[in-house]
Subunit: 156 residues, 2 copies
């Protein structure tokens, strides 16, 4: 397989969640994980009723950044690491490509028997179908309304 240059979570995939919390990770996502020899990490979104996921490498980078930027005994660092790493968990997938979501995550995202995977580039989200439908509509409306201010030069 040719090595790719970019690794982005994309597309929107709907999969079943069984009674054990098992759900197939979209095959495109699995390909990324395999190629980078890493793992998926998931945690509750801080701001939305959904599960958020990323590659373990990203959290490792975060851990290193915090070690280097804030001093060893910083209170702020303490709070942040507790919140992020206390909630995150690795989710290795089995030979059939499934991960087992925890009760905590499913409850936070109000997911019962169906999950919607939504690509976000370096991250992805997992939603309850109805919630995602509303959220997507909201986002579309929001983006259209603010369109002029999204031009690259006006960012940051």
């Amino acid at each position: 397989m040719a090595l790719r240059k970019t690794f982005l979570f994309m597309d929107t995939i709907i999969n079943k969640v069984d009674a054990k919390g098992r759900v197939s990770l979209p095959s495109d996502y699995r390909a990324i994980v395999k190629e980078l020899s890493t793992e998926i990490v998931c945690y509750r979104s801080l701001t939305s009723p959904c599960i958020e996921g990323c590659l373990e490498d990203l959290l490792d980078k975060l851990a290193t950044d915090m070690e280097n930027s804030l001093d060893f005994f910083s209170q702020t660092q303490d709070d942040l690491t507790n919140l992020i790493f206390g909630d995150a968990k690795r989710f290795p997938f089995d030979s059939t490509g499934r991960i087992v979501l925890t009760e905590k995550l499913l409850k936070h995202a109000q997911i019962t028997d169906t999950a919607v995977f939504v690509g976000k580039g370096r991250k992805f989200q997992v939603w309850n179908p109805e919630n995602w439908e509303k959220e997507e509509a909201r986002i579309r409306a929001e983006v259209l309304k603010n369109r002029p201010s999204l031009a690259p030069k006006e960012n940051v």
Copy 2:
């Protein structure tokens, strides 16, 4: 088992502590210790009523950083390292995956029969359940309030 690239303590795990102070180390944590052929080190948190733990390697890194630091003669850092290294102790786990916490540590964290392990990336903490519940609420409120200024570059 494929060698992993990253070693992070994550997730929040609740385990029983028996009359002897025995408690199962979360299996994810044990996997890291085994894979790196190292040991867990625990000490009383300097700032919170909890036990703090990490890999022995990290304390070694701390010692090295102190040697190389411009603050080599800093009274504060000197005091802090005294406190940590004076308090730290290795905690090997037995064949069933348990460590035996000392009376000193349990008392400091006000732990009796239940312990909450909270991942912090390179470190982890062990809390009394009620205290952790309050602490988590405090952190969430604090982080949400200051969120913009806490975003480390591209993350969160």
